[in-house]
Amino acid sequence: MREINEMLKKKVSELLENGTADRIIGWQAGEFCYDVTPAVMRKDNLDELFYNGFCGANQSKYLIQESLEEGKVLALLKPCDTYSFNQLVKEHRVNREKVYALGIPCSGMLDVDKIKALGITGILSIEDNGEEIKVATMYGDKTCKRTEVLQERCKVCKGKEHKAYDELLIPDEDAPEVPNGEDRFELVNKLEAMTSQERFDFWRGELSKCIRCNACRNVCPACSCRTCVFDNDNSGVAAKSNADDFEENMFHIIRAFHVAGRCTDCGECSRVCPQHIPLHLLNRKFIKDIDEFYGEFQAGEDDTAKGPLTAYTEGDCEPSIVMEKGGEA
């Protein structure tokens, strides 16, 4: 990771120097090494840039605004970020011309809560090369297994290939593998296998925790409307908070529906939810249904393919398939 960090710094300053871009969206260290914030940096403050296992945030959404500004912006895209990037380019939200995309490798992002849960506290710095993670803490050096502390979404990594870039920091084939291989639909399957009442109870339990902070919406690269329907007083459904069970349900159903066929399954919604609602399970249900009903589809795989909800075939299944196929009553 250290080498990559060095390579990256070198590459970025080179690109800014030679005028390929005039600024970069990168990560800045916060108070702690795991407390990373995305930031726009220029030549003068470039030394603040760094890249480690806590740089999980999907930065492609910031490009919507950045690509409207003067000059070209340098974007650092991990493989999974390129899906969102493609999707945004496809929807004309990001002006491709104004972005120089540098593909950076990723060996899986870490979940600090999981590290802490292992009893490792007082974290000072981290060395995440290979299978083992070395953590320097106030109480001495500790180690843990990478697989134990990977973010949930990294366990179902889409792979190390960048789907869009102007340049790659290192060739994809030389990049590290993320140890994945879990079935991303495992929990969806589990829910589907429950009875209707059990599912209802599960989701009531989860969604009733929603405080309508809009973190999921704000982080989501697909949820990028200028004005959200829920903020538009003329839409008839605007609301700042959930008044009751129904509104908790509706907000999340509609949010999932609006990103259906466009969601790249980046998992940011669940990552940022302060209430730890597994929101990605709503999106994944749509992804699973789309795959099953209309054929495999990965949003953001490229920047041209028609989304499943803006396409059809004459022989599509009827909605009644839900009666036969959906979860148990």
Binding site: E192, W203, D244, M250, Y294, E314, E318
Partner: protein, 154 residues
Amino acid sequence: MQVNETNTVNTEEKEFTPLIVAFCCNWCSYAGADLAGSSRLSYPANVKIIRVPCSCRVNPLFILRAFQRGADGVILCGCHPGDCHYSTGNYYARRRMTLLFSMLDYLGIEKGRTRVEWVSAAEGAKFSATMNDFAATIHKLGPNRKLRDLRCEK
């Protein structure tokens, strides 16, 4: 014997009369409903029709809204696939509704509360039969409790 059966059904219905919202496309299903009317083919009075130009005009928000406000069932009727007045509208509606219904099921909402039926302008009898059947299904399911705004309770 028949008389008796009708009576029992009636008394039961008094306890629970389901409210059903039917979105009908203007070209086929709304015309089918008109044909059911001019053929005097009855269906329950608690089925209320909202005219939309095409089944593809129906936003999932409308369906959720109906449940929020107290509907017990929502049915969407459009031209048969291939016969859409706008040639392709119902194909999009079909995908949208399939996914929406699947999501509602995933959230634990009873499957039978939502339905899509394709009813042509010539299918007055089918329209009436569909509404009767749907009303019976909803009657069996009982009142919508899982997807409603309790503030809207009478």
